[in-house]
Amino acid sequence: MKKRGRGIGLAFYGTGYGNGFPDVSRARIRLLDDGKVGIYVGSTEVGQGAKTVLMQIGAEALKLDVEEIVFITEDTSLTPDAGTAAASRQTYNTGNAVKIACENFIERLKEIAKEELNLNSSYGLKVEAGNIFLDFFPQKKISFKELSKSYGSGNIEADGEFVAQTIMMDPETGQGAPYWPYTFNACGIELVVDTLTGLVEIERAVFAQDVGRAVNPHLVEGQMDGGFAMALGYILFEDLNLKDGKIYNNKFSKYLIPTAMDTIKVENIIVEDPESTAPYGAKGIGEPVMIPVGPAILNAIYDAIGVRITELPVTPERLIKAIQEDNERKEEI
């Protein structure tokens, strides 16, 4: 028999290393040839979109087009340490480092422009679209291009460092401020359980994710879709078949991850509530996007068939067994 159910899951997630551990990101900005600006940062693009997001934060801070930025991340001999691409920390932590480095770079440019333009002070200077100019007398102007011509590539630079604020928890009571910031989300699932086959089919997923501010909404949606799919696999079918320390399902013909036929179009809702300590308000979401999906599925399964599943994964065999055990319990009563 096919039974329909709906469930909800909420979650929160503290980003960053946490617990008072020094969580440091560093970035360096350099004026390169032809007025281009290089952002050097040892942050990894694992597919999440770090390069694009950090370039956008840099472009925003420098008031420059993304096309004018050269982004260098790949080489430890060229880039300062920006910490790991983990803990959902690159947008917030390294984003802050990039923004701070850009702001320091702008100050450096203003100092140089003051000399180059024979000004008494750097007050009133503005940096926009690759030019440094005096706000109330824009004829006093020098471009990034002119500066890179006279100073050469890589000779004007500035560094930025961001250190996150967390407080180590007391070892006996756990009192402290282990993470900052936190992100929040909610997922609603509608599904159908086939009580004969034990198959669960997700019919609808509505997913709201707090992002602080979305630096790139398409990338946020991509993370939400991907987190949803990973959670689906986690709850319903991924199983290593581990026995006495041996993984028996050690290939994709046995370890099943979701295919395009298993996933559905997720109705993603991006919720913005900018965080004041974050770069333009943006918080990390790479991990949180998979968290509320699982409990929403489990609560929906209960709603459909009245059976609580307390052990993962909810394979068809386990689901049928749980239904049978539940029936036996009810008969006894």
């Binding site: 694992v46 597919g47 999440q48 979109g49 398409h218 990338l219 949606e221 991509g222 939400m224 879709d225 991907g226 987190g227 949803f228 799919a229 990973m230 290939k251 994709f252 013909s253 991850i257 979701p258 295919t259 395009a260 036929m261 996933t263 179009k265 997720v266």
Partner: protein
Amino acid sequence: MVKIDLLVNGKKHSLEVEEDMRLIDLLREKLGLTGVKEGCSEGECGACTVIMDGEVVNSCLVMAFQAHESNIITIEGLDGEGSLHPLQQAFIDAGAVQCGYCTPGMILSAKALLDKNPNPTEEEIREGISGNLCRCTGYNKIVEAINRAKGV
């Protein structure tokens, strides 16, 4: 060693291959077509997908000698002089790329699908790429990209 002739991305090749060499090794090691990816070596993930005589195949399951006198298209053969194939452009525009490892195989499966069925439904698209695993995107933006590319 076996001598084979084949057409890869419109270019003729005559080569000697070992009998136990797979098509994926021929493409990657001998022809330098490293856009062909190896994710599982058992035909489950589709990262090594190429188009062989109009059909998608997992190049990890085809022996090199079996490709004798065949016409192979890899991701490297899709874009023309300075212009991308509509599917490649659609994958960029729809945000269908994340880590990129499944992308070449995914695009080739989509091409084979659209070559046979120029106007597939969403369900047909999902079925058409069901042999290609992606761990990053949850597939939705990939489906959207293929939807965008149809009819272009």
